[in-house]
């Protein structure tokens, strides 16, 4: 997979941020340490939500 495809995949993954039980995780616009601690998925989801 090329880097461009990997970047697209990251963007797609961030649309579906779920917890262990498959329930969607709420990402506050102002961010949260818990979201950052989730790693790349949490940060990309937060950045996206912030731009909305």
């Amino acid at each position: 997979m090329k880097i461009k495809d990997k970047m697209d995949l990251v963007q797609q993954e961030s649309l579906h941020l779920n917890d262990e039980n498959g329930n969607p995780i709420e990402v506050p616009k102002e961010g949260a340490l818990g979201i950052i601690a989730l790693g790349y998925k949490g940060i990309v989801a937060w950045k996206k939500n912030r731009e909305l």
Partner: protein, 866 residues
Amino acid sequence: MKKRKIILIGWDAADWKLMNPLIDSGKMPALSKMIDNGCMGNISTLEPVISPILWTSIATGKTGDKHGILGFTETDEITKTILPSLSTSRKTKAIWNILQQNGYKTHQIGWWATYPPEKLNGISVSDLYAKPNIEKGVAQPSMLESVYPAEFKELFNLFRLTPFDIDGPLLLPFVPRAGEINQDKDRKLTHIAEAIAESSNCHSIATWILEHEEWDFLTLYLKSIDTLCHRFMKYHPPQLQEISDTEFNQYNQVIEGIYIFYDMMLERLIKLAGPEATIILVSDHGFKSGNQRLLANPKEPTAIAYDHRPYGVFCIMGPGIKKDERIFGASLLDVVPTILSACQIPIGNDMDGKPLQQVFETPHKISFVDSWDTIDGDSGIVSPRQTTIPKHFTTKEELQQLIDLGYIDDPGDDIKLAIENTNKESKFNLARIHMFSHQYQKAASLFKELSEDFPEEPRFKTRLASVYQRMGKTEKCQQVIDELNAMAAAQGHNTKKDAPKTKWKVPLHVVLFLEGNNLLAQDKPLKAIKIFEKLEDSMPSNPRINVQKARAYMSMLKYNSAQREYEKSLQKDNENIAAWVGLANCCLIDKKYEEAAEAALNAIGHSYFYPRAHLILGYALLNLHDYENAIHAFEVSLAQNPGLTSARNHLISIYKNHVENPEELQKHLDFIKNNSNNTVIIVSGIPRSGTSLMMQILKKAGYSILTDNKRNADINNPKGYFEYEQVKKLTQDNSWLDQARGKAVKIVSHLLFQLPDNFNYKIIFMNRDMKEIIHSQQKMISEMNGTKPNNAYPAHLEIAFRKNLDRVNKWEDLKSNVEIQYINYNLLIADPAKELLKISTFLDKKMDISNLKKVIDVNLYRSKTI
């Protein structure tokens, strides 16, 4: 064979002392889970406590002199500039190189001294990636080519954070009253934001790799506990007198906040790694908290390291790892051998650590190679200067964070001076590494060079004096102390109005401390005490001074005075382990066994890895007839130091006389039988007490004798003296003792106290009628001088000799590695068989008594008193 998947996580400066309360109150659930499902313990750091050196030691299993990273910065000889320490300066393979060479898919994120990034078969992210890259107040993408393969940088920038992303609500868990802070005047919130962003930038890459890339081994280093501790520990509870209520209330949750945040990240990594992975968490050192905090450090480069505590954290969890176990005696150098052992890959013989076999449910068979550095293979290691360093990299701004934190001095605009300073610090650190690894000669020569090249800087001279002291070179040590005193005196004159100001003040308290210790090393305890008293007047809150005073009193056998000093030390610092052990020892001598046990338990409570404390505890419990607990205490002391003969002998005695356990008894008897090569047999006594005769007996019994035969036989000892010239220099140099293993050597009684603790000594001590000894000595002196014997009886000599004998007796009680068998010379002549049998039993060697009796020539027994 299935490869073991391993994640090695580094939390700079993490400390159990700070984490334990958080774990207990449920604020660090991920770490709590690791502890419950794995092994944990302290990990001892190395010297000097400087992060790039330590983290490279963790990654290589080698001390700094072998791995070559010697500080925060280095000089680029080609461009004549100052750079952060580079991966190209590392002289040896790191764990990621060795594992890659063995077919592991390896990834490395953020470790110190990894720029330029190495060409691993996985992803390599250098230490410079995480650093916020701010230019003129605007956040930029990650700097330079800090990622390999470089194309990943674009991907990683998608989830890269800058301090500007971390604003109000994200800071509230660290600073609940952040809204009250005027950020134009107070930049502390920015520092917290930088710390969160920096850690997140490495953590998020790790999460991406674990989800998207093939991986067998991943290292992740996170710096922010250390940076925030340096900036905010002074605000951490309990409140220090010097900190205002306002500041305390604003910032007292920062340290707790960063630990909780790190635990949240740990939880995510554990989940992504899956149950088949082995997770190792390690820190390079701890951080002083509570009343150990220093508000002001000495004025010298990297003085910030004085904030560090010598114990970091180690925790491991995974398949085949013991659960809910505490381990002891781990060192930073053990991490790589332990990982290699877990992967069943040979350990390099050139590594300085050992595998922590105690963490495995079934210990692996260990194999070795000479060195991984000489085994070719695709390791990904970057050769020196294989990568060009971009020109703009070498600007002062790149080093600003290190300068801000106090890790390095501002190099200023004078590049020549900056290069000189960088090289100086590298050399200084190398000398300290040599000192730590007991290569005293090398350390002394570097400290000497530095002292000569930079005579105005007292720190080189204080270290030189200290290393001379450790080498037993008390005279040279005194010379350096004299030089320091002369410098101090000159600086005293400089306080006059017209005198130039000096940058480097001689630390008088350090010099006095050295002086006191040097007197103690020269067996001049009274003079040492005077120095320590003077020091105590100027530094009344320093607990180490009282410990040294106590040691001086101990050497004079003044146990009550010693006890008082240990107690004083503990009043000042209740965590002073040396003082607890000293106090336990005093109570033991005073036969106050309950108090001795309590003091030993206090020492153990603060530092479990302290074999002598367990030994004292065992001895106290033995005297309280608590045999089961005494066994446990002796067993722990032996687990920590198998060479403690005294503990083993006590166990043997308990199993023989009080607790029936033939298997354990045999185990210890076998150990002694199989490990006698660290034992030195010593024949001792006051001169002319029959020591030469005993040496002849041992020679006849088949023992190797350590002698240089320099002193020839004469009329006073017709069969020879069996002496070894080096013995006389024992106070200056004890390196020759290595040659004495398993042999017999003659050492006069007044030198016994200088024997180092790293050997076991079986001492045959000759007693003889004191008047005979003195008469024989006088006769010998008159024969040597060709004068008439002095008939006046020197009563003062007899008193001195008797004091010496009393001291030897008590010294044995204090030493766990010393056993003495007293042999009476007069009885040996009168009834040889009985005394020779004692020797045979003591040395656990079958001897032909009738053959040995032939050595004893009654005609030579010429100084009878009757």
